[in-house]
Amino acid sequence: MALTGVEIFKLLPKTNCKKCGHPTCLAFAMKLAQRQATLDLCPDVSEDAKRILGEASAPPIRPITFGSGDKAVKMGEETVLFRHDKKFVNPCTLAIELKDSLSESDISKKLDEVLTSEIDRVGQKLRVDAIALTNASGDKGKFEAAAKLISSKASGVPVILSTTDPASAEAAVKLFTGKRPIIYGVNASNAEAMANIAKTEKAILGVVANGLDELSTLTEKIKSLGVEDMVIDSGARKAKDIVENNTLIRRAAIKKNFKPLGYPVINFVQREDSLYEALIAAVGITKFSSILVLISIEKWKNLAMFTLRQNIYTDPQVPMQVEQKIYKIGEPTAESPLTITTNFSLTYFIVSGEIENSKIPTRLAVMDCEGLSVLTAWAAGKFTASKIATFIKESGIENEVKHRELIIPGYVAIISGSIEEKLEGWKVTVGPREANGLPAFLKART
C-alpha cells in the first residue's frame, strides 16, 4: 500500500520553494500520493527520502526473473489475494527435485523427463519449468558433478541449487554464470557468505527460516548485505501450514506493504505418493506459491497440474480467446465441409481437436464473440443469425469453397432457419451438440 500525502509530506524539505511547480510542499505531496506527479520535480529532496518513497511505490511483491533466455520464468508482482479481484500475474513455477546422491544415469533420465515435458494446452505451451538440485550427499564434489551434468544436458532450464554449504554453492553456481540460478538454503548462519556469492554471480537467494518472524528478520539482514532478489521459504511443509503461512505472507505484503515478506514464495511439497504430491501441489497453486518443488513428474500428473495452474491464472475478466478467422484443418479442398463456432479458446480447441480426430479435411470458421462459449455467446446476443451471416459474407469464403453449406453447433439449432434467411443461397446443417459427435458426423457425410 502506498504512503499517504501526509506521510510523504514529512519526507519533503518543507521549504515551500515552489520549484516543483506547486504552491507548497504539502500540495506536491498530495499530488505524489495520487500519482499525478513524480518526485524528480523537487530538486531538493534528500537521498533518504528518495529511497523511502521509491520503496513505497515499488510493487508489493518483488518482480524477479528466474533463469535466462526463452525458458526464464517471471515471479512475484502479484497484487491481490483473490483471483476474481484481478488476474493473478505470474503462474507458479513447477520444479522437479534431483538429488546429487542419484547415479548419473538416474539424473540423466530425470533430465530427459523435464526436457520432454512440454504439452500444448488451449494454445499455451506448458512444461516443467525448473530443476532443483539438492545436496543430499553432503559432498561438494558430488554436488558440483551433478550440477555440471545439468548445465551440459539441460542448459536452458532454470536451476535451483539447494545446499546450506557456501563452498558447495559457490562451486556449483559458477557453472550457471549469467543464467540467474537460485541458491536455496540460505539461513541465519550462512547468510553473509551466501550473499557474497549471490552478489558476484548475480544469483537469486532462496531464504529459509522457521516461521514468519524469523523469515522477516533474515530477509532484512540479507537485504542489508546488498541482495534484493530473494525467494522465501517459511519452513512450512504440511498442507495446513502452507495455507497459513502463504496466506499471511501474501496479506502482509499486499495489505500492509510489509517489505520483509514482499518476495515470491517457494514451497517444498515432495511426497512419496505421486498423486498425493500432485494434490498438495494443487494447494500451493491455488494458495500463492511462486515455486513448487516436487519429486516426480509423470505425464498424467503434469497435465493435471499445468491445467490447474492455467485455470487459476487466467484473467477473470477476459476469457482466453483465439483469433477470428477461417481455420483450415487437414488440407481442405473447395468441396470440403465448412463448420462454424465462437472464438472462446476452450471451444475452439475442443472443436478443432475433434475435427482433427475425424481425419476429414474441414474448414472451421471462428467468429469473434469476445471469447464466449457457444451458448453463452448466443444468450448474450453475440452469436446470432445476422452476425453469423455478415461474418460469412465478409470472410471471403464464398470465393474459396464451391458449395454453400454451413454446419452449425447443435446447441444453436434454433437459429438455423434465420441464418438461411439472412445468408442468401446458403443451406444450414445442424451438427451434433457435443463436439465429440463430430468425427462420426463428418465421416457419415463422405
Partner: protein, 314 residues
Amino acid sequence: MAFVAPKETYSGKVYNVNIGTGDKAISFGSENVLPFHSFEGAVPNKPLIAYEIQDVPPSDWPENVQKPYSSVSGDPVTWAKFCQDSLNAKAIALRLLGTHPDRENRSPEDAAKTVKDVLAAINIPLIILGSNHAEKDAPVLIAAAEVAKDKNCVIGKAQEANYKTIAAAAMANNHKLIAMSELDINLSKQLNILITQMGFDKERLITDPMCSALGYGLEYTYSVMERIRLAALTQNDLTMQPPMLADVGMYVWKIKETQAPESDVPQWGNAEERGIAWEAMTATALLMAGAELLIMRHPKAVEAVGKVIEELNA
C-alpha cells in the same frame, strides 16, 4: 521490522449442517473462517466426501471408473453396501438417473422403492439426487423424500424451475435440501432467498453453485465459490451461509482427459491415473475455494482427497 501476523476476524459463519441418523450421522460446515484457516478462527468440522452411486448400472461412466464397481454396480443396494462396508464411505449420494425421460424413464414409485431399499441396507447418511430433468425431478424427489421421511437425508437438486415442490417435500419430511443455480452468485443468492421465503429453514440448505471440471470452466466455479464464501464471512450475508456442494464426479468423468486412451494421446500419459488425478485435483481445488460437501466417484480419488483433507486440518 517486527512481523505482526495480519489475521482477520470475520463477522459471519457457515451454518452447521448435520445429516443422517444415529451414530453415523455427520456434520459439515460451521466454520467462521475461510477454508482451512484454523489459524484465525474455528473449524469444527471437516469437509465430507460422499460416494456417488446410481439406480441404473453406470454404463454411461468411462471404463476406468466403472471398473472398481464392476461386481456390485448392477444393483444399487449391493453398490451402496460395498461403498459403506468395503470403502468405508462416510456418506452415499444416490443419483436416480434411471428416472430421466431419455433414459429408462422410471416412475417416481420405482425410484422411491430404490431409495427405500438402499436406506434399509446402510446406516450412513444418504444424499438423494434426481436425474437433473427439472420437470421429472419434482415428482421423483417428492416420492423419494416421503419414503425417506425422518432419515435426515439430503434431497437435490432444487433449481429455479422446480424448487417449490422439491423444497416443500424436503421440509415436510425433515430433510436437508440442495439449491442449485448456474455459476452466478446473484442467481445462487436469489434461489436461496426464494426457498427460505417459503418457510424453509436457511440452516437446512446446501448451496450448489454448479461444478465444472478442471480445464473446463473450473475457474468459474472456483471464483463463484470464493465470492460466496467471502460474502458469507466478511459481509455476514445470511443467505450465503449454507455450506457448498461440489458435485465433482459427474462433471469430471465426461470430459476427454478422463477417457482418451494413452494410445490416442501419448503426451497425456496413463489414462487410468490421469482420470483419477483429474477427479482428485478438481476436488482439491474446490475444497480450497470453499466446498464442504463433495460427491465423487473413483475410490482412489476419494482416498487421496481424504488424505489431503486430513493434512489440511492436522
